[in-house]
């Protein structure tokens, strides 16, 4: 008698319906990943920061706004919990990183299939990032040597030029170029290893 009547099945949801909600949930993940990389760097005792790689990764896998918001949020959380008020301005570095990564991603340079372009993009990001880093260092931290790893470079340049701004620029160049290059490579490698089922970008409708 019941033949031909379909049994009611529970609804199983495996993917959220909207891309917007996924983006919102991804923003804190990006911010937290930026932080956790600091823990990894500490564990591996490496002379790097790498706290922008997740901003780059977020930009590549989910779009510019996720990278911008996640990166900025990371600095906001750290400023209001640990680094103190002035540190929130570092958020603009993350915004810049997200924008420039997005530009390179759009022209297809952020891909492990194009290693030369990837390295070049990383170097360009590092070199151009020296400008906002210097501005923040001068106006928020008084152009003091804030990182022990590059303090000796700071001291040498200050001794030769008598200018604290030149010293900040010199130490920023040494710190930023390898840091941003390796961050971009890491972002590209992790993005390339993401299975299709984890894809965060909206799928084209069939």
């Amino acid at each position: 008698m019941t033949e031909g009547v379909k049994k009611a099945q529970p609804t199983v949801v495996t993917k959220p319906s909207g891309f917007a909600i996924l983006q919102i949930v991804l923003i804190p993940v990006i911010a937290a990943l930026n932080y956790v990389t600091g823990v990894v760097i500490n564990l591996l005792k490496l002379p790097l920061f790498m706290d922008t790689w997740a901003t780059m990764f977020g930009t590549v896998v989910a779009g510019l706004w996720v990278g911008v918001a996640g990166g900025f949020l990371y600095n906001i959380v750290m400023a209001f919990t640990f680094w103190g008020l002035p540190a929130w301005v570092w958020g603009f570095i993350n915004v810049y990183i997200a924008v420039i990564t997005w530009v390179f991603w759009r022209i297809g340079w952020v891909s492990i299939k194009k290693p030369l372009q990837l390295v070049l993009a990383g170097i360009i990001i590092g070199v151009t990032n020296v400008i906002p880093v210097t501005l923040i260092n001068v106006f928020i931290f008084g152009a003091l040597p804030t990182y022990a790893g590059t303090a000796w470079i700071y001291a040498i340049i200050l001794n030769q030029t008598g200018s604290t701004i030149s010293a900040v620029i010199g130490s920023a160049i040494v710190a930023e170029i390898p840091d941003k290059l390796l961050s971009l490579i890491l972002a590209a490698v992790v993005a390339s290893r993401m299975p299709a089922r984890f894809s965060l970008r909206p799928q084209p409708s069939k």
Binding site: P16, P28, V29, Y35, L73, P86, L144, T164
Partner: protein
Amino acid sequence: MSSTALKILRSGYVRGDTYVHRLDGRTKFLFFLWISIFNYVFYDVYFSTTSLAVLLGLALISRIWKIVLTVITIIAVPILILGLLILGGPVGFPENKTVIFAVVLFGYRIGFFLEGTVYVSVWSARLAVTITAALLAYLTTHPSDLAAIMLKSRIPYKFAYAFLATVQLIPILTNEISTIYQAQVSRGLNVQAKITERLKSIVVLMIPLTLGAIHQTQTRAIALESRGFSAPVEKVMLRDPRFRTSDYAFFGLMAAFTAFFIYLILTRGLVPFMQGISYVRPGG
């Protein structure tokens, strides 16, 4: 740095029923902005160290002084020491004129200068003040109050969610990376290897962490959707923070001191208490 930052983020709120705890979160946040701004306006060691002493007193009252001192020791003290050695010393800070003392090292006479020492002390004290004020506001405000305050301050609830979710996610992801790290070490990951090998190790640690986090993101998004996160209705909070008499008294104190600070600026300039020291622009 990371372990202390993590402890703060993990504990988040330090329970207590002190005067500072009872203040509304908005009052503490406003105080944090107010004291930070004035410390950046004045160029005065006495002003900055007095502000720091007041803040440390409040940290002592609210029983968070141990955390505050640890953070200051990790962040501000190294900058102070490096700065004193380089800018206060004979390296070449252009403002240096007055020798405070000199030491003889390997036959060389090395002088330490007043201008550089003051410059570094002011900037380090400014940092210590803002760090202490931020921790005072964050560690004595309940997370639920923090969310309610954000919504009351007309901050979009999506941003409030992102902020609070980040604070909650950091300890979770740090625990996960610790597990992944131990698993990789048991499989032969060598943290004492050459720098190139250690750089490669980042990839083997970050890929499982990131993929796990993204998988959880999808689950979290479904959970939020099922609870009407994006529904176009007014959000209601469980807690409803309100200003009390103690908050208004605190505002009154801040207003009185603001008037006093403006008077100081008009009558004595931006270096009100230090004698024989002139204002040095950022960067010297």
